[in-house]
């Protein structure tokens, strides 16, 4: 019992330490645990360790349904290049990956389509009004501290109205600068290099301006020629090799730069404000589909995404929490087709977005919270086609916690959309990127339309006993996917009369968490979640043929029923002799059946690219002492058989794919005084303050260990075995 108490004390003290830097020093020294007290060398890593296993556990109490989380140390150990690579390990997620460093990577959750997924960057949704697709390959992990995936919505009711809107939500939380006592700045320099001529240097700076205020800046360059060998091989039914060819992927190069900067001011225990700048600029080749007689494409794409985002939040009178967010985003895209076999194309798009939100939460009683939020957003698309949209969101929510046995959250969201195409919706362009370009003409409809929808959600969590952490969860949620500008106004293909697509989600689940200790060492934990869900997508927006040669229109025709089971389990063992082991496994079974029209040949068939079975496993084994750490990580991803078109016939069959990834890393404190101080557990705190560690980290990654030749998307070959080496120095 005494030990349990100490852990809590520990957790609380760390929480306090993080919110008040000046207090950290004394708290650390007074901490009873050797882990922190005597290991300045791996402090940075362990800080995050702590946060993961204690702090977040406490914060999660707010969550009615615990999200899937990857954070801190785990993220670091994965050493993934982008958010998309990390998200593959979540259950219920399907990723579309067109291959290579520059290939577009989008995710959808529980078979509901990419546009149903909300991706939030520090609480503000990343937008793409044009086509609704967020390329998660663009978001590097360098500056990300935590990735969370919520089915439905974040179950904390203190959120912006828009956050209630998505069918599934990914939260990307950027690093918050933390300073050891007496340190005025942190710096990290990293160099990553690997296959496909990947070069990825990055630099990170934190500067402490005062006890409560800090600046952080982070820049990185990504360059890769995207050339990798791929192989297509087929055998005849009698077993002879029909063909076996290996070629080099062409036009998959990328050059990108990302710069981020933020000012944080944590001015009190409850309040802070933050100003954030983000800039991303890239030029890349679009490698295109590999089809007979075509081994390279000439498409090029330039992307420039910039945004500035400001956040303020505080708690007033101990009961009233307020948060405000503002964002301005400016995105420019240029696309050209240089292929001399095709018609030359040049498209330019400019998207702008203004966003403001204010969310309030009032604690009426300790067990009853209510919240209300209002968001407004303006989107504008120009150059390629002119369209703009005003959207207002209004939400009300309430959360009830009955003695920690029953937690309940109910919310209602009103969405008010107003679209306009001022130029009569004239598209200035001649050709669509993904449409067989034959007969595209101007959209001559002058449209102004308004749309109002209300969507409810209800979340429940029941914990029958406080003795074990076993919870029964359930939720019901409705959400709309609004037509994008492309759906509505795309050159001759859009349909300005589209209704939004409606998703109804039903979920029941079970979660069980059991902390335990091995040889008197704390921190081991076993956790398992299982969820069954049923989703129904109606008025699904689908491309429908207009009759003449390849003229399509978008119609609300589709009806899809999705049934699924997600299971994920995690075991974390803190072993004797400073060893640790983490094992995670997740498995998803789902059916996503098209039930649009019984006359269709694909009626009752699984929708494209949704596997029945998918899963992943991750194992992390390591050893650490006061001045060094070594680890071995292994991960496995399995995506089962699926079909690449609507009909489940042999010609559309796509084989399963599975990859094994392996990485090893070592971390050493190379500070000149480090070794001398090792093991001196009871050094005076003043001495410890002077020896901030300098950590050298070297990691080696091998991806697709067995060099499997596979396509995630048909005709977009993925890389074979590839390597990556990372060296970083952190002070």
């Amino acid at each position: 019992m005494n030990r349990r108490f100490l852990i809590w004390l520990f957790a609380l003290s760390c929480l306090a330490a993080f919110s008040q830097n000046n207090a950290a020093d004394s708290l650390i020294t007074s901490s009873p645990h050797r882990l922190i007290a005597s290991s300045p060398d791996s402090l940075i890593a362990r800080y995050i360790d702590l946060e993961e296993y204690t702090i977040t556990a406490r914060v999660k109490e707010k969550d009615i349904i615990i999200p899937q989380t990857l954070s801190g140390v785990q993220l670091k150990k994965m050493n993934a290049l982008s958010v998309a690579d990390a998200i593959r390990y979540f259950s219920g997620v399907q990723i579309k990956d067109y291959g290579g460093v520059g290939g577009i990577k989008t995710v959808n959750i529980r078979s509901m389509g990419t546009n149903h997924m909300g991706v939030y960057y520090n609480g503000v949704q990343l937008g793409n009004a044009q086509n609704g697709q967020i390329d998660l390959g663009k978001y590097a992990l360098e500056n990300i501290e935590e990735i969370q995936l919520y089915n439905g919505q974040k179950s904390d009711i203190w959120q912006s109205a828009r956050e209630f809107g998505a069918a599934g939500s990914i939260y990307l939380t950027t690093r918050r600068p933390r300073f050891e006592a007496g340190k005025a700045f942190n710096v990290k320099a990293q160099m990553r290099a690997g296959s496909f001529a990947l070069i990825n240097p990055s630099l990170l700076f934190d500067i402490r301006l005062s006890e409560t205020m800090s600046i952080t800046a982070n820049a990185e360059l990504i360059s890769s020629d995207g050339k990798y060998p791929f192989r297509y091989r087929r055998v005849t039914p009698s077993g002879e090799v029909a063909y076996d060819t290996t070629a080099i992927r062409q036009n998959g190069d990328i050059n990108a730069i990302r710069v981020e900067a933020a000012v944080n001011h944590y001015y009190s225990n409850t309040g802070f404000w933050k100003l954030q700048l983000y800039h991303y600029n890239s030029e890349r080749g679009v490698p295109g589909a590999i089809v007979n007689n075509v081994w390279r494409n000439g498409e090029r794409l330039w992307d420039r995404n910039s945004f500035v985002q400001a956040t303020w939040q505080d708690e007033l009178f101990n009961r009233w929490s307020v948060r405000a967010n503002m964002k301005y985003a400016n995105d420019y895209t240029r696309y050209i087709n240089n292929d001399d076999k095709l018609i030359r194309v040049e498209n330019q798009y400019l998207q702008q977005e203004f966003y403001f939100t204010m969310a309030h939460k009032v604690r009426i009683f300790d067990w009853w919270d209510v919240s209300a939020a209002y968001d407004v957003q303006y989107n504008q698309l120009s150059m390629f086609l002119d369209a703009h949209r005003w959207t207002h969101w209004l939400s009300a929510a309430t959360a009830i916690n009955i003695k920690n046995y029953l937690r309940l959250q109910a919310s209602i969201l009103g969405t008010f959309v107003n679209d306009k195409t001022p130029n009569n919706g004239e598209a200035h362009q001649r050709e669509a990127i993904n449409v067989k370009p034959l007969t595209l003409a101007k959209q001559a409809t002058n449209v102004s339309k308004a749309n109002t929808k209300f969507t409810p959600a209800l979340f429940l969590s029941y914990r029958p006993t406080q003795l074990v952490d076993l919870r029964l969860n359930a939720f019901y949620k409705q959400s709309y996917r609004y037509p994008t500008f492309n759906d509505l106004y795309y050159t001759d293909m859009g349909n300005a009369y589209l209704k939004p697509e409606l998703a109804k989600q039903h979920n029941v689940g079970l979660s069980f968490t059991q902390p335990f200790r091995i040889a008197e060492k704390r921190g081991s934990e076993f956790r398992i979640n299982a969820d069954y869900y049923y989703n129904r997508i109606s008025d699904k927006i689908i491309a429908y043929p207009k009759g003449q040669q390849f003229r399509w229109t978008m119609l609300n025709l589709g009806l899809v029923k999705i049934n699924g089971l997600d299971v994920n389990a995690q075991l974390h063992l803190v072993l004797p002799m400073d060893f640790y082991l983490t094992a995670k496994a997740q498995y998803t079974y789902q059916t996503a059946i098209d039930v649009t029209d019984p006359n269709d040949t694909y009626y009752g068939d699984q929708i494209p690219y949704i596997p029945w079975h998918s899963g992943s496993a991750v194992g992390m084994f390591g050893w650490q002492n006061d001045w060094q750490q070594y680890g071995l990580n292994y991960s496995f991803i399995y995506v089962g058989e699926r079909y690449n078109q609507q009909e489940n016939i042999i010609y559309n069959y796509t084989q399963p794919w599975y990859t094994h990834d392996l990485s090893i890393f070592g971390e050493w404190n190379i500070h000149p005084t480090a070794k001398r101080s090792t093991g001196v557990a009871d050094l005076p705190s003043t001495a410890k303050r002077s020896i901030s560690p300098i950590i050298l980290r070297v990691a080696l990654d091998v991806n697709n260990l067995l060099s499997q030749d596979y396509d995630v998307i048909i005709n977009y070959p993925m890389p074979k075995r590839n390597y990556k080496c990372t060296i970083s120095i952190t002070y």
Partner: protein, 391 residues
């Protein structure tokens, strides 16, 4: 507590791995097999076919762009069956199969020619066996016709132009003996169908990529020096070009999908004068068979958000009078998007294909000359182009 948890997790891992193992691993990719379907037809001896009676029909399925799913099916009148994806089975060694977006198929001599638009090639096969002989690389090729041992192929891509919006198309001449390109001539924007008539090639220029500034001309190329000798205005966004037995040229246009309606015009090449056709039907594709023109029209209506689809047969001598549908048993409602038509010149059977939603299997329907549906069969994706083979 520890033991219990570990046991539990071990059990879970075992279940998970068992499930993954059960759900089959990756195996060798097998070449696409053909599928055979028996049709309600009497099998016949090959020798019982008259010389002018087709013994089979090849059907080219376009396949959606980027899917690499252009396939060739074969309708076998001898054995009374339908063979899906015959190319894949007969040519297993061709890397990445037939290609992406088939656009035309024709037989000339003993050879079968398939124009594969997005694979930038004309595939040349033996007409009897469908086995590959070779290929001719022509960028963005569209349609093919033949004359005196030469093949003529229209292509969207002519000379490299400075202005990306003004890229002219071309017609290529290919020697069918050597499969080499012998000559090339620049024509109008995005040329489509072409024919040879009286030592000249006629090709219609659609300008389909240039919407709304469509082309509306027909280029006339002299075969002697392979030069464009004339470019005459025809109709907006022309597509089909056929010759009838009176040496008249029939041209269909798609219009601009807005104000300008699709048109059907008839042109006398001797004088290049248009014979006016009042109230001509909207024709998407047609087959001229003697004095009859079998056609279908498929026209999208922005108001009702639906297709207006018509099936008809008209007399080319009196094109505006007495148009009737060639489907009489009211089964046309089962056809979602008509996408190809062919008429058996021997028995008058009419073949019409249905492309459905362009991304799933289509259908081939056979109608008797009386307009009664005889049978239907599943095809590849976007069945579109058909040609007959004779004994």
């Amino acid at each position: 507590m520890l033991d219990k948890s570990i046991k539990r997790s071990l059990l879970l891992c075992m279940i998970a791995s068992a499930v993954l193992l059960l759900t089959s691993c990756r195996s060798d990719e097998i070449t696409y097999p053909s599928e055979y379907e028996v049709l309600p037809m009497e099998p016949r001896e090959l020798s019982s076919f008259a010389p002018n009676e087709p013994i089979g029909m090849y059907l080219l399925n376009e396949g959606n762009m980027g899917s690499n799913k252009a396939t060739i099916d074969y309708l076998d009148f001898c054995n009374g069956c339908y063979i899906r994806n015959i190319y894949g089975e007969r040519n297993p060694n061709v890397i990445k199969e037939l290609g992406d977006v088939g656009n035309d198929i024709q037989i000339y001599g003993n050879r079968l020619y398939a124009v594969i638009n997005c694979s930038h090639k004309v595939e040349v096969m033996d007409a009897r066996t469908c086995r590959r002989i070779g290929q001719v690389d022509i960028p963005n090729c569209r349609y093919i016709c033949f004359h005196e041992g030469k093949a003529y192929v229209s292509s969207y891509v002519g000379p490299i132009s400075i202005d990306p919006n003004a890229q002219l198309g071309a017609v290529f001449e290919v020697d069918t003996a050597t499969l080499e390109i012998t000559r090339k001539v620049t024509v109008g924007y995005q040329p489509e169908e072409l024919i040879v008539n009286n030592e000249h090639i006629y090709v219609v220029n659609s300008g389909g990529y240039r919407a709304p500034d469509y082309d509306s001309t027909m280029s006339i190329i002299s075969l002697k020096d392979f030069r464009q000798v004339q470019k005459i205005p025809v109709c907006l966004n022309p597509h089909r070009l056929r010759k009838d037995q009176y040496n008249h040229l029939w041209i269909t246009s798609r219009g601009d999908h807005k104000e300008v309606q699709p048109q059907l015009i008839c042109l006398s090449p001797a004088t290049n004068s248009q014979l006016p056709i009042a109230n001509a039907p909207a024709v998407s594709e047609m087959v001229i068979f003697g004095d009859s023109m079998y056609y279908y029209g498929s026209h999208w209506n922005e108001q009702t958000m639906s297709n207006t689809i018509t099936y008809g047969v008209l007399n080319i001598q009196y094109p505006t009078s007495n148009i009737r549908s060639f489907i009489t048993d009211k089964t046309e409602k089962n056809i979602k998007i008509p996408y190809g038509i062919q008429v058996n010149p021997y028995n008058g059977d009419i073949y019409i294909t249905d492309a459905k939603n362009y991304v799933s299997s289509g259908q081939l329907h056979c109608y008797s000359r009386e307009g009664k549906r005889k049978w239907s069969v599943r095809t590849g994706d976007i069945p579109a182009h058909m040609c007959f083979i004779y004994r």
